[in-house]
């Protein structure tokens, strides 16, 4: 994802193919420091992201669980010596079994979780963007107390996600939470937030919106400040209304920033773990689980089903990849060059 940058980008394919060794050598001499600078990151990424990724994909084709992971089963006899035998039920390659079981709903609630995840992502990102854009527009005007508003509005960002999760879980407590107290104050019956799938999901969505708006607001505010003020002045002279200036100057000017933050926001929200995990804890009975938390529970709760968790992981990644490809294609059609 690059826009036009200052570097003069020479073509990376050299003219003469025959001069291979010297080309490599020249390339090395010219670029060794660049490679030296990126090397640590490349190593870290290779070892800790790509190796695990391929291993995860491989595991999704096996039936590895905590129970069958050992290659040998050792039994300590009465005399104290240890006898080891090959594990008869050792984990093995099972092909597409995991996928079939997950997609047909034999194990877990894949389709329900996917639905919940989609609703969760869509609502959260739409609200993040809408509210962030609204607040940024207001903050972008000259007015009194602007600095104070900005600091106050960014504040949720400074609170670690798990603390926010606890804070909102506390607010949505059925007996003594602030939410129910406020509802009773205006004469509405208290709600058992975590007893119903949708109200439970609502608590998590509210938490995540509260948490994510500052990022959008700051990013969009930054984007607005890069729009030359001459454009606004010219528009004013031409008699454009505030709304016309907003739709004809601000929104187009924000395109590059919004495209990036919407894509990132979507991916982050889709994979957002702590909010659901801590606020709803999947209540009631796992109905408010999203894909990521469902997969985590498969891997680390009960008998740890590592292969099943990896299967979910591959499915999540596929959904996101498909989404990004379509997103990029849609952008390219509208003339946005990445």
């Amino acid at each position: 994802m690059t826009t036009v940058t200052a570097d003069p980008a020479p073509p990376s394919t050299p003219p003469g193919r025959s001069a291979r060794p010297s080309r490599l050598r020249r390339s090395w001499e010219k670029h060794w420091y660049a490679w030296a600078m990126v090397l640590p990151v490349v190593i870290v990424l290779a070892v800790l992201i790509f190796y695990p990724l391929f291993r995860g994909i491989w595991l999704s084709f096996t039936n590895l669980t905590e129970a069958n992971q050992a290659a040998e089963i050792c039994i300590r006899s009465i005399t104290g010596s240890e006898v080891c035998n090959d594990n008869p039920n050792k984990w093995e390659f099972v092909g597409l079994d995991n996928y079939v079981r997950v997609l047909t709903g034999e194990v877990g609630e894949f389709w329900q979780w996917t639905g919940t995840t989609l609703i969760w992502t869509l609502v959260c990102v739409a609200c993040h963007f809408g509210l962030g854009l609204g607040l940024a527009t207001m903050l972008n005007r000259p007015m009194r107390l602007r600095g104070l508003y900005r600091v106050l509005l960014i504040l949720p960002w400074a609170v670690p996600a798990f603390v926010s999760a606890f804070a909102w879980k506390f607010i949505f407590n059925e007996r003594f939470g602030l939410a129910n107290a406020l509802l009773s104050a205006v004469g509405i019956d208290p709600v058992s937030w975590f007893a119903d799938r949708w109200t439970s999901l609502l608590t998590a969505i509210v938490t995540n919106i509260w948490l994510g708006v500052p990022f959008m607001m700051v990013a969009l505010l930054g984007g607005m400040q890069t729009i030359p003020s001459e454009l606004y002045e010219a528009a004013e002279i031409d008699g454009a209304s505030a709304w016309q200036r907003f739709t004809n100057i601000t929104l187009p000017g924000l395109r590059p920033v919004s495209m990036t933050v919407v894509l990132l926001g979507t991916i982050w929200t889709f994979n957002m773990f702590p909010i659901i995990f801590l606020v709803t804890e999947g209540q009631p009975a796992g109905q408010s689980e999203i894909l990521v938390t469902g997969a985590y529970r498969a891997a680390f709760e009960g008998i740890r089903n590592y292969s099943l968790a990896s299967t979910y992981g591959v499915l999540i990644l596929s959904i996101l990849l498909v989404f990004s490809v379509f997103y990029r294609r849609a952008l390219r059609k509208q003339g946005e060059v990445w």
Partner: protein, 282 residues
Amino acid sequence: MARAPGRSRRGPARSALLHGTLILASLIAIGPIVWVLLSSLKPGYAIQSSELTLFRDTTLANYGYVLTETNFPRWFLNSVIVAAFTMTIGIFLSATTGYAVSRFNFPGRRPLMMVFLVTQMFPVAILIVPIYTIMARLGLINTMPALIIAYLTIAVPFCAWMLKGYFDSIPTSLDEAAALDGCGPFATFWRVVLPLARPAVAVTAFYTFLTAWGEVAYASAFIQTDDKFTLAYGLQQFVPQFNPQWEYLTAAAVLVTVPAGLVFFFAQKHLVSGLTAGGTKG
């Protein structure tokens, strides 16, 4: 610039509407934080009453209990260590990488940029099991390096990507001038470009710190004994399914937010400028 301030052209009604909306939004933004703070000053029975009060039997006892009777100080220290190491190493790694990607057109540059973006998509669910196995094989389960390394994989790609955008906005003529003065690429980076990129570095530091300070999934999976917990996992101990101790949780939550707030305070001046460049030029 002789531009009339917008304030003078805004009628009183519109002005009231604008400020009213912003005040409401600010209240929503700080409300939960203030509510937790107020609650942490109440004794347990006052928190768990259905009656809504701002102050009731104000006391610091919850803080005293959390700080002296629980493992909280230990968890706090663990989190500080993990976050500090992640932040320091993370900034160093992402700054050099971001610089190289921004300045040098070396083979492998574009794929690397793509990789940074794609890694944002990798769900914790697919990586966590294999990383857990790797850590187990290296004997790192239940140690802090396991967490530091895991958090670096989350933070570095995004930060490198963001810093790259910022470096792009620093004129290359500065690099060329430094090169004429006899600086090598490393010296140019260290002495000329990095100081100029301070806003973006502040944002990066902020982001890495918060990532490490608030991460839950890896902390829950890799750490097993009470004395090694970080705050993100430790705090869950206060709210078990039955008989949650909200008075201690709220006090602990306030104590956890303070350092994050401090880091934030120092970074917030730079947030807008730092993020803008990263966002637009990424």
